[in-house]
């Protein structure tokens, strides 16, 4: 059997150049793809943001270990009291959610839960918690959640008591790329 492609050395060079261009194309696509993937990746700070909100809330409603008396008032507005933006924590913005639960030593609520933000984030946080029946659901576009618990002191009927503050915070803020014409994506 004649192996023509092995005979003519000039023909071999042509074969080589075809393979060479194929290699160039593969290297080019690989390099461009990898660079684009790496540099277009989102810098995810949602967990840090949720932690900051959680720290801000606990710092704000608990001073030196004591629960601020204003928190137990009916007209208490957490956003005003803690200098948080109503615009950002509105349901329509779909960026943040937090829930504050205050309870006494026996676990009895001291007041209604304080809720603010996009309520769907609460569900996303719940789904991400491991359950007794199965594992947690994870999804890239679910909010990042932080659960924290702080003990505090408070006076009731002139008696010093201890209580517990549980804070759930979820953040799902994604930045906006602004086009040169001024619109966001």
């Amino acid at each position: 059997m004649q192996l023509n492609f092995l005979r003519n050395k000039k023909g071999g060079e042509k074969f080589l150049s075809i393979w060479w261009f194929l290699v160039l194309v593969i290297v080019g696509i690989g390099t461009v793809g990898a660079v684009l993937m790496y540099y277009s990746a989102n810098i995810d700070v949602r967990s840090d943001e949720a932690k900051i909100v959680s720290d801000k809330l606990s710092d704000c409603i608990i001073n030196n270990g004591f629960l601020s008396p204003a928190v137990l008032e009916d007209k208490f507005s957490v956003l005003d009291y803690c200098n948080l933006s109503l615009y950002i924590f509105s349901e329509q913005q779909k960026q943040f959610y937090f829930k504050i639960q205050l309870s006494d030593e026996a676990g009895k609520p001291l007041r209604n839960d304080i809720l603010q933000g996009y309520t769907d984030i609460q569900r996303q946080c719940d789904w991400q918690k491991p359950t007794s029946t199965g594992g947690a659901i994870t999804a890239e576009y679910y909010a990042k959640c932080i659960d924290s618990s702080v003990e505090f002191l408070y006076y009731k009927d002139e008696e010093l008591k201890t209580g517990k503050c549980e804070i759930l915070v979820g953040s799902n803020q994604n930045g906006q790329k602004i086009s040169s014409t001024g619109g966001g994506q």
Binding site: V32, I52, Y87, I88, S90, E91, I178
Partner: protein, 158 residues
């Protein structure tokens, strides 16, 4: 005139003289390869120093710093890299950064092809100025009048 560099000096091949063969294709091949890999390297370098990465990084960093701030603070932030990138894109330092206080937004624009914005969540009166290559923020509590006016604006916006 003979130009030796473009001619094959090996003499003969299979008894046939190829003294006059021009080796131009090989040179073109090498030049094209150099151009190709050069373009790839330029692409990688441009991507790694591109404005879009720094816009996002600075916007998020500034928003997180503002989120952690408290009234009375003055925060100075090194903005050198952002200014260098803006210079490269022929953008003035003063046009690289702004705060939209009605929407609690920091906006970074380091190139002429757009920018990046990110929200901060604290409700303070935040002012900023450039001090050399640093960006200096002053954090103050809002006056009750400002708070009322902003609350109205925010309610309308929400």
């Amino acid at each position: 005139m003979k130009r030796g560099i473009f001619r094959n000096k090996r003499g003969t091949s299979g008894g046939e003289s190829i003294e006059g063969d021009i080796v131009m294709p090989e040179i073109i091949f090498i030049i094209l390869n150099i151009i190709y890999f050069g373009l790839l390297i330029v692409f990688v370098v441009k991507s790694s120093t591109g404005a879009w990465i720094y816009e996002q990084a600075y916007a998020k960093q500034i928003a997180l710093v503002l989120d952690q701030s408290k009234p009375g603070m003055t925060i100075s932030m090194n903005f050198t890299k952002a200014i260098q990138i803006a210079d490269k894109n022929k953008r003035k330092k003063g046009n690289t950064f702004k705060i939209d206080s009605s929407k609690n937004k920091v906006i970074l624009t380091l190139s002429n092809s757009g920018g990046y914005s990110y929200n901060y969540f604290v409700d303070y009166d935040i002012t900023y100025k450039f001090d050399g290559n640093n960006l200096v923020f002053n954090i103050k509590d809002k006056t009750p009048e400002e708070k009322t006016a902003v609350a109205k604006e925010e309610k309308n916006a929400a």
